[in-house]
């Protein structure tokens, strides 16, 4: 379903992704793990047409996302690392906006919106503006939205960041259910190793832009002689802490937070 061969992405002198290759099979849950700044989000952006690769090839369901953008875009749904909802619109309007952009026929659109909002337990709140939602509700809404156009592949970029254990559990329950019932291929990243251990069929570990290991959780543990996936992860990537520079986005979010007086 996803094929990546010798993918490279360079920003000037800095090489974020160095010659990585991997495959994700149809119906698989594939976890892409790595420390901060390892190249996870860059890879997802290339897979989802937001960035063009410097070299190498990518195929999504046989399509090249850097050439056949729009065909490739119909194939996947994505939940971004940071929120991407319109806070001023209601939950229903966010869903409807998405459905229209993806050309889901009206009748089907209304049905899917209703069933997805019910599945993610947001139907009762459908007419409330998203700015009144908690972090967990927003995440659920984003996942529901990403599934609206019945994609074959779903990208989840750290979907559980900042959520409480209850919400996290529930979220992965939904993801597993979708994967089993609708055979949706899932490509996910997370910092919570036990989540990857529990949910993913296969795991790739990326560090400094390179894939350092891939296989099932069991294989990774055996390879490193570790008892838990977390230990395996640490022995593969070392225990130095990676600091990322704050981007202008972070600075701006901080500023906005100050202005809003932590209303969220």
């Amino acid at each position: 379903m996803i094929q990546v061969r010798n993918l490279v992405k360079a920003y000037g002198d800095f090489v974020a992704v160095k010659d990585i290759s991997f495959d994700v099979e149809e119906g698989e849950i594939f976890a892409f793990l790595g420390p901060n700044g390892a190249g996870k989000t860059t890879t997802i952006k290339i897979l989802t047409t937001l960035l063009k690769p410097t070299s190498g090839s990518v195929r999504l369901d046989g399509l090249d996302p850097s050439v056949q953008h729009n065909e490739a875009r119909k194939r996947f749904g994505i939940v971004f690392q940071d929120p991407s909802l319109d806070d001023e619109l209601t939950a229903y309007e966010n869903m409807d906006f998405h459905g229209v952009l993806y050309k889901v026929p009206r009748k089907l659109r209304l049905e899917r919106i209703e069933s997805l909002l019910k599945l993610f337990e947001l139907w009762d709140r459908r007419n409330d503006p998203v700015k009144q939602f908690s972090g967990g509700m927003k995440r659920r809404l984003e996942i529901a939205r990403g599934l609206l156009h019945t994609p074959k592949i779903v990208f989840l970029d750290e979907p559980t960041l900042g959520l409480d254990p209850q919400t996290r559990n529930q979220l992965w329950k939904h993801v597993k259910k979708l994967n089993e019932e609708e055979r949706v291929t899932v490509f996910m990243t997370t910092h919570y190793m036990e989540e990857a251990d529990r949910v993913a069929h296969r795991i790739a570990i990326i560090d400094h832009g390179k894939i350092v290991a891939q296989g099932t959780s069991q294989q990774l543990k055996e390879q490193t002689g570790a008892e838990t996936l977390e230990q395996a992860f640490l022995s593969l990537t070392g225990s130095t802490i990676r600091d990322e520079d704050a981007t202008s986005t972070d600075q701006m979010r901080n500023m906005a937070r100050m202005f809003r007086g932590n209303r969220r």
Partner: protein, 248 residues
């Protein structure tokens, strides 16, 4: 088409829901009308130029459209910072349609603001003398709205945050307004100012509105319409190009 419609609808909904924004953005035109309109009125009259409110109102209307349109375009920076832009960029919709939908939405918002200010001007004593030219006045308002929304979008496509925003306001938007003939007649000006005013696209919007509404012309409506259409088309093209190159 449906993509353009839903993007347009989103902009309009956001506008209609933000009541504080609507009220706040009417403060400035009101201030201009009161302070300048009534303040300079007697001097303008003594200089033999007639009623200043009559002269100023088209300028204030054009100003409102200018500011609202630029802000609507620049809202793109918010969408980029708060993530919503990604949602539209990964959708299977050609970027140019996204750009057109946004621009039409922003232009519609600017038009609504413009019409509200027309009503305020009317309350301040402004009277339309050429009712048959009203459609022309509306056309000019639409062109000005589209032109500056496209400009705002073009600027926002290359800025990644609000750092450069103050620079744009002080060195682009303010000069466009103050040097456009919105506040003073363009006749008998020092040569430099005259040249600047004639390359300022807003001058043609103000002149067009003034000709259509009260029959006072400097460039004349045919030239106004020509310049506005050409520049609006050029800025739409430039905006679409820059927007299509956004990488996140």
């Amino acid at each position: 088409m449906s993509a353009i419609y839903i993007l347009w609808l989103r902009q309009v909904k956001r506008y209609v829901r933000s009541k504080p924004r609507i009220i706040a953005s009417l403060g400035q035109p009101l201030l201009f009308l009161i302070a300048l309109g009534f303040g300079f009125g007697p001097i303008f009259q003594k200089a033999g130029q007639g009623n200043y409110i009559q002269f100023l109102a088209p300028g204030v209307i054009a100003m409102t459209i200018l500011f609202t349109a630029i802000f609507s375009g620049i809202e793109l920076i918010w969408d980029r910072q708060f993530g919503f832009l990604k949602e539209t960029l990964v959708a299977p919709v050609p970027r140019i349609l996204v750009m057109i939908g946004r621009t039409l939405g922003g232009a519609t918002v600017a038009m609504i603001q413009g019409v509200i200010v027309v009503a305020i001007c009317f309350a301040a004593g402004f009277r339309v003398t050429n009712f048959h030219a009203l459609p022309v006045a509306i056309l000019i308002m639409i062109l000005v709205a589209i032109m500056f929304t496209a400009l705002g979008t073009a600027i926002a496509s290359v800025l990644s945050d609000f750092q450069g925003f103050q620079l744009i306001m002080n060195f682009l938007v303010m000069p466009i307004f103050f040097l456009s003939g919105a506040l003073f007649p363009l006749t008998n000006l020092p040569k430099v100012l005259n040249v600047i005013a004639s390359i300022d696209p807003l001058s043609y919007g103000v002149d067009g509105l003034r000709s259509a509404l009260i029959g006072v012309a400097h460039f004349g409506i045919p030239l106004d319409l020509l310049v506005l259409s050409v520049i609006a088309a050029a800025l739409l093209g430039a905006g679409s190009y820059l927007f299509s190159r956004i990488q996140l």
